[in-house]
């Protein structure tokens, strides 16, 4: 799975480090002084992840919990995210990670006690806050190796006003199903219709399989969320989302879906440059982009409005209450 495994000396004996090494059958990883002296220190091509992906295990330093950008999450509560990992094993063609870091190499941080401690401090100021994982990685894709969430579960059980969102494109829910469903912990899935997903979300499980995983969680009463983000234009987009939403609501209890977040594909200038380099013939480039109000590269406003209103209309027509739908980053 990984070409090289590199571990920071300071956390070599951390229980999570040992767990990960054990799961990966690695008895002799490369020991490094500090992660920052190696990870991202040289510019590595993003698509190196296809053949030579390295794993770094380290200690997250600096700010452990950060305020989320505006227009993030449902209105009314403060939103924060925490970083337990950098980079992703999947390869979504539009992913911002390809222009964000200088390396595709994966980092798993293992000082979860310190991250939770910081979440606790944040809660003292913002008792109703939301905490999001998966901003720079997929929250569950490697959970079978990392197995960190039970510690967070315990914390959020004791802090029922706070909310935790684990965002994923994976179906790696085996460990999660062993945990107690909590009202304030949401497993949220990024979903796209089947065909665009096959084309753009490389190496991710198919939409059908994701819905199957959501069904299992729904049957066990876990709280869920859905991200239709990014929505990418295609000629049959209305038909595709109609099929997707029908299939989703046929399988998953709508009561357990806390929200549907809708966002249209967008990039920073640097990310878009990388997308063009990495995927020059992708159908992502078939529809025009403009530099929009916040200098991000997006579809034109009429196109964005049309896409968002089309998907929103389909949700409403299927009985999803308007209060559960929000537009992300618009």
């Amino acid at each position: 799975m990984f070409e090289k495994i590199l571990v920071e000396k300071e956390i070599l004996h951390n229980q999570y480090t040992q767990h990960i090494l054990n799961k990966l059958n690695t008895s002799a990883p490369i020991i490094i002084d500090k992660l920052d002296n190696h990870w991202g220190k040289v510019k590595k091509p993003y698509l190196q992840k296809r053949t030579n992906l390295n794993l770094f295990i380290g200690k997250k330093r600096g700010t452990l919990v950060k305020e989320a950008p505006d227009a993030y999450g449902l209105d009314g509560a403060p939103h924060f995210y925490f970083i337990h990992s950098y980079n992703c094993i999947y390869e979504c063609q539009y992913c911002f990670l390809q222009g964000y870091f200088n390396t595709p190499d994966l980092v798993l941080y293992v000082n979860h006690d310190e991250i939770i401690n910081e979440i606790s401090k944040t809660l003292q100021k913002h008792p109703n806050a939301w905490f999001h994982a998966g901003e720079f990685s997929d929250s569950l894709a490697l959970n079978h190796i990392t197995n960190e969430w039970s510690e967070y579960w315990q914390f959020f059980k004791l802090n029922p006003k706070a909310k935790l969102e684990l965002r994923t494109k994976s179906v790696n829910i085996k460990n999660i199903l062993t945990l107690e469903p909590l009202k304030n912990v949401l497993l949220t899935f990024s979903l796209s219709p089947q065909d665009p997903s096959k084309e753009f979300d490389l190496k991710t499980p198919s939409t059908k399989v994701k819905i199957k995983a959501m069904r299992k969680l729904s049957d066990s009463n876990f709280q869920l969320g859905v991200h239709f983000d990014p929505i990418i234009y295609s000629d049959d987009i209305e038909k595709n989302y109609n099929t997707l939403i029908t299939e989703l609501l046929d399988n998953v209890n709508l009561e357990l879906i806390n929200y549907f977040s809708l966002g249209v594909v967008r990039y920073t200038k640097d990310v878009y440059r990388q997308v063009k380099i990495n995927y020059p013939t992708s159908k992502l480039h078939s529809h025009p982009y403009i530099k929009s109000f916040d200098n991000k590269i997006r579809y034109s406003k009429p196109m964005r409005n049309w896409l968002l209103s089309s998907v929103k209309e389909i949700l409403l027509s299927k009985g999803v209450p308007e209060s559960k739908i929000y537009l992300c980053m618009e």
């Binding site: 090289k4 590199l6 490369i30 490094i32 190696h38 220190k41 040289v42 510019k43 590595k44 091509p45 698509l47 190196q48 296809r50 053949t51 030579n52 390295n54 200088n102 013939t281 159908k283 480039h285 078939s286 529809h287 025009p288 403009i290 929009s292 109000f293 034109s300 406003k301 009429p302 196109m303 409005n305 049309w306 209103s309």
Partner: protein, 339 residues
């Protein structure tokens, strides 16, 4: 034309025999045949940077750079005596340089570190092997100069031996002639794959019934690329469509035809925005009587309208205020965005 770069003349021996090269510049060690240049760069990053930069600045017919050379392996598991196509070249000079250069071989999966001096210590080997499996002294410079000159580059390295043996320069030099034969065989095999792809013929821009300015050609190219990406064979189908032929056969000047053609392509390229632009134009045309020069180019994205006006007395100011007050911008927005 291709430029083949070697650090040492012996590595290029077979190329000299087969390509019938004649010297172009002895100080540069640059040679030319009917269809390729050969440059002996000398060993090291600085030599390579200098000689390649001078060559590319003097001969702009060079459109592709191929580097052949010997490399050491930093990892004992890497197979020896195989030619690897290099994906990414890093540079190490006491520490790693942030910049790396990725070759144009999208199938390549092997990375390499270019160093300034020979590496002996196991610690250095360990440190370098975190980033790549191969080691040389030129590839990073080739990538760096190629990028500066915007030329595609490819790099092929034969693993002579492991790092320990790599330091035995004399041994490597002794074998370089046989390496040269291997490089030539490799070159002969891949040369067909590197032939320039034919420029996609833009049939429309060559149609004598239209006249495109430079910026219009750029737009045409942008629209056609996207539309062909969306639907294979779009251009050919479009050119036989009645809409295209109607414009082509109109009795108007070429300039106007071209503008109509581009408007039509834009409608296909972005139908939703195109409709909103047209509605916006109509909405602001109806305000022409106000004698305010409106600029609504940023209206669609930012709801922003600019205008230019002039006044010489209070009466004229009041007239402008009255005109502006009469505009119901919210209802204009509703009309434009009524899907």
């Amino acid at each position: 034309m291709k430029l083949l770069c070697f650090a040492h003349r012996n590595e290029a021996k077979t190329f000299f025999e087969r390509l019938k090269l004649s010297p172009l510049d002895a100080s540069l060690k640059l040679f030319k045949s009917d269809n390729a240049f050969v440059l002996i760069t000398g060993e090291g990053i600085q030599n390579t940077t200098e000689s390649l930069s001078i060559t590319l600045s003097r001969f702009n017919q060079i459109n592709e750079i191929l580097n052949y050379g010997v490399s050491a392996s930093l990892n004992d598991t890497v197979q020896k005596n195989i030619i690897f196509s290099i994906r990414c070249a890093y540079q190490y000079f006491d520490d790693f340089s942030f910049k790396s250069f990725t070759s144009n071989d999208q199938q390549a999966t092997t990375d390499l570190v270019s160093v300034h001096k020979r590496i002996y210590s196991p610690e250095d080997k360990m440190n370098l092997s975190i980033y790549a499996n191969l080691l040389d002294m030129e590839a990073w410079a080739i990538g760096s100069v190629a990028k500066r000159f915007k030329k595609p580059w490819y790099c092929y390295k034969l693993i002579s031996d492991s790092l320990h043996e790599y330091t035995q320069c004399e041994k490597i030099k002794g074998e370089s002639e046989s390496y040269s034969q291997r490089f030539w065989n490799h070159f002969e095999n891949i040369v067909g794959h590197h032939e320039e792809s034919l420029e996609v013929t833009n049939l429309i821009s060559r149609d004598p019934d239209f006249h495109f300015t430079f910026s219009q050609l750029h737009l045409l190219d942008k629209y056609l690329q996207a539309l062909n990406n969306r639907q294979a064979g779009f251009t050919q189908e479009f050119m036989s469509s009645k809409h295209f032929l109607a414009i082509k056969n109109q009795e108007i000047i070429k300039k106007e035809k071209t503008k109509k053609l581009l408007d039509l392509l834009y409608e296909k390229y972005d139908p939703i925005t195109s409709r909103e632009i047209s509605r916006t134009k109509n909405a602001f045309n109806s305000l022409k009587a106000l004698n305010l020069n409106f600029d609504h180019s940023e209206f669609i994205e930012k709801d922003l309208v600019k205008f230019k006006g002039q006044f010489q007395n209070n009466g004229e100011i009041q007239a402008i205020i009255n005109s502006l007050s009469a505009i119901d911008l919210e209802s204009i927005k509703d009309k434009i965005r009524d899907v």
